[in-house]
């Protein structure tokens, strides 16, 4: 096993993060670092808190009525709950891709340009350049470059998901959060997304929630196992899948639950 000479910097870090929906505790005292330019996979059964944890990294849970938290989350060492921090800017820096691709009922071009326009970019040449760069980044450019004005809804499911990734990339985020990005896709589209994740981590820091353990094993550098709102174990992906230290992790990855 090659030992990397330098320990990667933690792009994000949660410290003793507890999150409640009303009185229901969704995650308990979770401390977990998201290292820079690595893919961190969050796995665990439904209701274990992995998606809640992911959403707490760009304060998406703020949008849910009754949600409250204790503990801290840091981005580049600074608390994301800092009053002086702009939530819109946080969500630009920490972008998100959802399970169901959700393109706007607009053209392919406008889908990617939308966030940039909202951000105040008007220059047509610059806009076109950023759209192309984002579509290339999402490995979709070659498939859509001749039909940028067509509706995004005419794309296949896998293309729509890559369009949503392009849309997330357009605003030049630093961290990408992916919530089951390939669960509704066929194996070929899934392979394309996974390949894309490999490419993206050179530029971005990625955290991905997946129910598919083989997918976690394939795409991630580190894997964190959540169970009933707790972080049970986090380690190098290879270790989690060949020699987990915790009994509950072992039972989950070998399929001995329920």
């Amino acid at each position: 096993m090659p030992l990397s000479s330098a320990t990667p910097r933690n792009k994000m870090e949660a410290r003793e993060l507890t999150l409640r929906y009303g009185s229901k505790v969704a995650i308990k005292q979770v401390s977990l670092a998201i290292p820079e330019h690595k893919v961190t996979a969050l796995i665990g059964p439904s209701g274990c808190g992995k998606s809640t944890f992911l959403r707490s990294l760009n304060r998406m849970n703020d949008l849910i009525p009754g949600a409250s938290h204790d503990g801290m989350v840091f981005l580049d060492g600074r608390s994301i709950h800092d009053r002086a921090l702009d939530v819109v800017d946080l969500r630009r820096r920490v972008g998100m891709v959802f399970q169901k691709s959700n393109p706007f009922p607009k053209s392919i071009f406008e889908n990617v340009a939308y966030g940039l326009r909202v951000g105040g970019l008007k220059d047509k040449t610059k806009l076109a350049a950023r759209v192309e760069k984002s579509l290339r980044g999402a490995a979709l450019w070659d498939e859509v470059k001749d039909r940028l004005e067509e509706s995004a809804l005419g794309l296949s499911g896998g293309q729509q998901q890559r369009l949503c990734i392009a849309r997330a990339l357009a605003v030049e985020p630093e961290v990408l959060l992916m919530d089951e990005p390939a669960s509704a896709l066929d194996p070929i589209a899934t392979a394309k997304i996974e390949e894309l994740i490999h490419e993206l981590k050179a530029t971005y820091t990625i955290a991905i929630v997946t129910h598919n353990m083989q997918q976690a094993a394939r795409v991630s550098d580190r894997t964190a196992f959540f169970y009933m709102g707790e972080l049970v174990e986090c380690g190098a992906t290879e270790q989690i899948f060949t020699n987990p230290h915790e009994k509950r992790t072992e039972d989950y990855v070998t399929g001995k639950f329920g």
Partner: protein, 228 residues
């Protein structure tokens, strides 16, 4: 291993695999005992049985490999399951080699049974055979019970075999120097002793894999690793 797999068919596959390996292990233990007995009792028909029984060991090897490949392809095992399957794939080769070595011993025994015995009790050959057989048995017990400490005993036990082999070797050398007419028989016995010592080495391989299976830690070739 208290918790069982949610998928019962997977659980059954793993149980099958353990049972087949155990059956194969029991078979090769018997072959070691029989091949040595064929020598000491001068029983050539028993030796022929050993030669015939090897086919069964070979069939089990193919069966187990097949089962492992199927589990890998269909179940994508992880963690302790993955370590069990990779261990099974490796130790099956060692068990098959042990079977082959027992056959080689039986063939030498058949040759030796044609001529008067070289020495009473065939020097320490029966003792070496017993040690080798014990090592195989212990390694397989460690596999079945997932007992890494027992597997470590096997690693330590190998020195005894090596020492006894060296003693036999020197003794047979003395017979050869004494009278050149002894050379043919002494050489055959030396081969047998070497085969038994080799069986011990295969038991050692099995034990090392068992330690990996249980602890997830590879204990093989510690000195080569320092070179990296």
């Amino acid at each position: 291993m208290a918790a069982t797999h949610t998928d019962k068919a997977f659980e059954q596959d793993l149980r099958n695999l353990r049972e087949k390996l155990l059956a194969m292990g029991a078979k090769v233990e018997t072959l070691i005992a029989q091949s040595t007995k064929a020598l000491t009792d001068r029983d050539s028909s028993l030796a022929e049985q050993v030669v015939g029984a090897d086919r069964e060991v070979n069939r089990l090897e193919v069966d187990i490999d097949d089962l492992c490949r199927r589990i890998l392809a269909l179940r994508q095992p992880a963690a302790s399951d993955l370590r069990l399957i990779t261990t099974a794939l490796k130790i099956v080769t060692d068990l098959e080699r042990i079977g082959d070595l027992a056959v080689n011993i039986a063939e030498r025994a058949m040759d030796l049974n044609q001529v008067p015995p070289l020495a009473p009790y065939y020097v320490d050959t029966p003792k070496l055979a017993e040690l080798a057989q014990q090592q195989v048995k212990k390694a397989l017990d460690a596999f079945v019970s997932g007992d890494a400490a027992k597997a470590e005993d096997v690693l330590k036990g190998d020195d005894l075999l090596d020492a006894l082999f060296l003693k036999i070797f020197n003794e047979l050398l003395a017979y050869m120097m004494e009278d050149s007419r002894n050379i043919r028989r002494a050489t055959a016995l030396m081969f047998i002793a070497k085969h038994l010592e080799r069986i011990g080495d295969h038991a050692l391989n099995v034990a090392e894999m068992v330690i990996y299976m249980v602890r997830g830690k590879d204990v093989r070739h510690p000195r080569s690793r320092d070179l990296e």
